[in-house]
């Protein structure tokens, strides 16, 4: 059984232009490892949506990625304001993103639903005033 590959990324909270750099890097690594294009895309989209959310809402944070022969696990951790009502946040179209973010092409309330759609398993732990952790798993076999 090969050792899992572990990667860790700092996501800056104040630089929207760099949002997605971590997801792009993970996508490149997964392609090099020869994962199926479907699995690569599922990881890329779910992680990218999460990374964008961390920048928009969470003030940045850390992303931890673990790759095993069976699955890719992602843990996105921020110390932002937290989510008051997770079930509301999961509804398509519901968003607290400011106008400035909408002008950049995001904030349509599709981020969390999309992360759930593209990952095989997703869990959100959030405490108001402390931050949010989103754990996602994409099965690769």
């Amino acid at each position: 059984m090969p050792e899992p590959i572990k990667m860790e990324y700092d996501v800056p909270g104040d630089d929207f232009t760099r949002a997605g750099a971590a997801s792009g890097d993970v996508k490149s690594v997964l392609k090099k490892l020869g994962l199926s294009s479907e699995a690569v895309r599922k990881v890329a989209i779910s992680m990218y949506e999460g990374e964008i959310n961390m920048v928009i809402h969470g003030g940045g944070g850390k992303i931890y990625v673990e790759i095993t022969p069976e699955a890719v696990r992602m843990s996105l951790v921020d110390h932002g304001p937290g989510i008051k009502d997770i079930s509301l946040a999961m509804q398509e179209g519901w968003s607290t993103a400011p106008e400035s973010v909408r002008n950049l092409g995001f904030g349509a309330g599709m981020g969390l639903p999309n992360m759930k759609k593209y990952s095989d398993h997703m869990e959100i732990h959030s405490v108001v005033g402390e931050g949010t952790t989103v754990d996602m798993t994409v099965q690769v076999i």
Partner: protein, 118 residues
């Protein structure tokens, strides 16, 4: 349709050729909302947009798109062109507006790729 045919049809200025300039594409989508592209686009290879920022390239990359067309003559800055180069995505800018650009490509055989408009 070849990506270089898109250049011709849209009277476009190619800013970077990416890895697929000589390659063929079959479907496209037009949107200024990257949230929608991430949520609803499936296998489209070309993105037409009036939005100009680095997240357009990031979004196209995550969706395995091969070509981005900026409409209304919008010009991305060098950092966006560099990112597209790095990610292997062709980038071009057309003087046409979104509706006309989409119409011209559709008329020439490029489809939406969705069940309702295939």
């Amino acid at each position: 349709m070849l990506i270089k045919e898109i250049e011709k049809i849209l009277k476009a200025n190619v800013l970077c050729k990416g890895d697929w300039y000589e390659g063929e594409v079959h479907t496209a989508c037009g949107s200024d909302l990257m949230s929608d592209v991430l949520a609803f686009v499936k296998d489209q290879s070309v993105l037409l947009t009036g939005l100009v920022n680095s997240q357009v390239v990031r979004t196209a990359d995550m969706m395995d798109m091969r070509c981005i067309v900026f409409v209304r003559g919008k010009q991305p800055d060098q950092s966006i062109i560099d990112l597209a180069n790095e990610r292997g995505i062709a980038l071009m800018t057309t003087p046409y507006r979104m509706f006309t650009a989409c119409g011209l490509l559709y008329e020439n055989g490029l489809k939406g790729g969705c069940e309702s408009d295939a």
